[in-house]
Amino acid sequence: MKTFDAEFLQKLERLTLPGTKLIQGGTGGRRRSKAKGSSIEFSDFREYTPGDDYRAIDWHAYARFERLFIKLFMEEREANITIFLDTSASMDYGQPSKGVLAKKLAAVFAYIALANYDRVGIAALNDGISDRYPYFSGKPGFFKALEFIDRLPFSGRTSLNKSIAGFTPLRGRKGISIILSDFFAKDGYKEAFRYLMYEQQDITAVQILAPEELNPRFSGSLRLIDKETGDKVEVEMSPRTLNMYQKALHSYLEEFKSTCNRLDIACIQVSSAVSLEELVFEKLKQAGIIG
């Protein structure tokens, strides 16, 4: 992804992902502070896993046990950022494509998290977890993750409920879950939200829709074929039919928004036609999704 040049990444480094659930166990009033002073108390150790910040390795413990341990007080301050990227076939739609924007956005969220010393895991969803990138931290791993994101194919049906509920690595880890999807799922998305809330996740939902979905310009008699399911719908495209679609779309978007509000989920609905910079530095900021 060419978008991610040094200048763009530098701009991203100034951004943070606000969360509420982690602050309670943290210190100093800020979840991710760049000033990691010694005043922070040691809590526990855990074994080093690749991707962990090697600066947190307790070399004393290593000397004693010849095993790498990380001081657990650091982990307490880290947030687990899980990015759920919808890679169902429906995301590969629109000019510009919804999926491309979703991938870029996933990379943006990942980089911001890494820049704030958070741990980032990426899960590709369709009707299950089609692929995942394990949690890692540290900016150096970004480009590898980016490569992973870039390679993800779009296929299969969307089932947010099934796939998110089946994401076991989340269990027991508070954190932030970011869902990048069009939320066009036959079985809905509410169960997925509930599951994430149960797992004490700060949820951010970014609903991405293509311009063709927001304002379709159809005419004549069409047999619409669902990209995911192959379902066919025959519609006589008339101003009246299009008007009815707008009403249905508006109702669906409103319902999504009100669900998010009700569940205290930060959400935003964007068109894939919007530029990444505008989305990140204006819209997401305005929506309070990034700070």
């Binding site: 969307t158 036959k186 293509a210 008699s221």
Partner: protein, 615 residues
């Protein structure tokens, strides 16, 4: 107008082919089922839309059908408006009667190409403007009105009739033609039909209701030869011609042709509305035909020449058989065209060459082979069938007004006649009583037997005061006019369109007339034929074919300059006189294509509304 079934007809029925557009519309509705495939990210929302649509499905079906119906109706009204429907009531529209003047004046070229063509074009335009339900009759105004096309709605036939109309060389009775047209309308009970008059003037004294005048006149300038005559002056002839000017004063160049050879040219100054005489003296007496013509062109060339034929001095031969009757002799001798031969009753000559035999006293037992007869106080005659028995003493004489020969008593007043005695005679077959006494005994009878005309007086002139009466010569001239043949060499001059009574030569059996263009007409000599086809102007030749020889004569047909030469007639319809030219739409029909057009527009608007606002 006779009311009948209302009728819808079309001015442009071919436009109904546009109804075929309904087929592709229906096909398009059928083909509309063929949906085009289109892949979308998700049909989830569209399925919701479809559910909503399903809820409104009955209306949707109705809407689809309604759209189809509206479109089909739109095509129907589109085709209807193109086909220009006409709604007519009654006998299929209105009745036009075109009266077209064919007088010689219509040949004038003051209107291009000429008045007749202009009138014809206007008539054809009127025919073209007829709606399908209309009918038209065409009446040609000639000397007698003639119906050329009767109550037809066949435009082609009407146009053909119009094309065949030609201007004649005579005058016409336009008033009579208009009256005939009005009578036709009245007969059909169509008081609201219209009579379109195509002429160069408006006849006076007409009931001008329903008249539409199409005037074709350019107030042309014209001069005419109104008279050509001659008189013998010793060994030469003087020709007298008259030329009239119906335009501004001008010098008119005149030519005299004798037997088709140019003999002289003269110029005459003729003031406006004046007629001047031009004399041409010293013409050789041997000339038979003289023609005076105007060299200059004007708007009507027909009347630019006049003809005269020099008669050879024909005399009818009359045999008067009498002992002595001065009154009779004088009365007969009054005519210059008679060669009178007198004979004593005792020596009746056996001569069959006489045109007329006058027997004063007795009829010969054997009548001459040819020749007509007048007899005074005849005795019984077997051949004629005459029976004279006894005498009557009539106290007075009276005319039989019902007689077919009543013209023989023209200007005669028999009431004053005193007749001492007369023979009591019967009325033989073929005879009619002209005069009778108070007991209705015939005093004068006339009749025809085997081509021979016979007049019988029951009394002798010596036994009456008739010769002393002033009307005796009149009575005799009337009789002679009837009995004597015309000057067969020059039968006279008539105007084009008039008829000529041809007096057959007594022993002629066939008569042939050859027109100036060489057309031949053959007639039986008896009864004497009347020649009607006098449209051509010029010299007509007549041949009387007798048993042993042929007698040749001629007559001239000329143009009635008094009636046709003045071209300066009104070119506009005076106020209050009829209606000016443009053909009017019949009051009994309505063009409804405009209505069809409005309905079409309404349908399209409704369709638009249903398409966009259907629930």
């Amino acid at each position: 107008m006779v009311r009948g079934e209302a009728e819808l007809s079309f001015n442009n029925p071919w436009a109904l082919l546009a109804l075929l557009l309904i087929i592709p519309i229906i096909l398009l509705y059928l083909l509309r089922k063929q949906h085009e495939d289109y892949t979308v990210s998700s049909t989830m929302l569209w399925q919701r839309v479809l559910q909503d649509l399903q809820a409104a499905k009955p209306w949707q079906r109705l809407r689809t059908r309604l759209l189809l119906i509206l479109q089909v109706l739109a095509v129907i009204f589109f085709a209807l408006s193109l086909a220009r429907p006409v709604w007519s009531r009654g006998m299929g529209g209105s009745h036009f009667i075109a009266v077209i003047d064919t007088s010689a004046r219509m040949q004038a070229v003051d209107v291009k190409p000429n008045r007749m063509e202009a009138a014809r074009n206007a008539l054809i335009k009127l025919i073209d403007s007829m709606n399908p339900g209309d009918i038209m009759s065409i009446v040609q105004a000639g000397r007698q009105p003639l119906v050329l096309a009767g109550s037809s709605n066949d435009k082609a036939a009407l146009k053909q009739a119009a094309e065949e109309i030609e201007a004649g060389n005579g005058k016409t009775d336009l008033g009579a033609a208009v009256q005939l047209a009005q009578a036709i309308l009245q007969e059909r009970g169509e008081n609201s039909g219209r009579i379109h008059v195509f002429s160069d003037f408006i006849p006076s004294g007409l009931d001008e209701e329903n008249l539409v005048f199409h005037l074709v006149s350019g107030n042309g300038k014209n001069a005419a030869i109104t008279h050509v005559g001659y008189e013998r002056a010793g060994e030469s002839i003087s020709v007298i011609s008259r030329v009239a000017n119906f335009g501004p004063e001008r010098n008119i160049t005149l030519e005299l042709k004798a037997d088709d050879m140019l003999l002289n040219v003269k110029e005459a100054n003729v003031p406006e509305n004046e007629e001047v005489a031009v004399y041409w003296p010293d013409i050789p007496v041997s000339v038979q035909k003289m023609e005076v013509s105007i060299s200059d062109e004007d708007d009507l060339m027909l009347d630019n020449s006049g003809l005269a034929l020099v008669s050879d001095g024909y005399k009818a031969k009359v045999m008067l058989v009498t002992e002595r009757n001065v009154f009779l002799e004088r009365a007969v001798s009054l005519r210059e065209d008679i060669e009178l031969l007198k004979a004593d009753t005792s020596e009746i000559p056996d001569n069959t060459d006489f045109h007329l035999y006058i027997y004063d006293g007795a009829l010969p037992e054997e009548l001459p082979h040819t020749g007509h007869i007048i007899a005074f106080a005849p005795s019984s005659h077997e051949h004629i069938g005459l029976v004279v028995e006894g005498e009557i003493r009539p106290s007075r004489a009276a005319a039989n007004d019902l007689s077919v020969y009543s013209e023989l008593l023209q200007y005669v007043e028999p009431e004053g006649y005193q007749i001492a005695r007369a023979g009591r005679m019967n009325v033989p077959e073929g005879f009619t009583v002209l005069l009778y006494d108070e007991r209705e005994d015939p005093l004068l009878i006339a009749g025809e037997q085997e081509g021979r005309k016979i007049v019988l007086f029951a009394f002798s002139l010596h036994e009456s005061n008739l010769p002393l009466k002033a009307d005796f010569p009149i009575l005799m001239q009337n009789l002679l006019n009837w009995l004597l043949p015309q000057d067969i060499y020059f039968a006279g001059q008539i105007f084009s369109g008039e008829s000529l009574q041809i007096e057959s030569y007594p022993d002629a059996s066939r008569i042939t007339v050859i027109s100036p263009s060489g057309r031949e007409y053959e007639f039986d000599a008896y009864p004497p034929p009347v020649f009607y086809d006098t449209q051509e102007v010029g010299i007509y030749r007549i041949t009387h074919q007798a048993e042993e020889q042929e007698y040749e004569g001629s007559f001239i047909v000329s143009v009635p300059t008094d009636d046709i030469s003045d071209l300066r007639t009104a070119g506009e319809v005076p106020e209050g006189r009829g209606e000016a030219a443009e053909a009017k739409t019949s009051p009994f029909e309505r063009n409804i294509w405009m209505a069809a057009g409005w309905i079409l527009l309404l349908l399209l608007l409704t369709e638009w509304w249903v398409y966009h606002h259907g629930a």
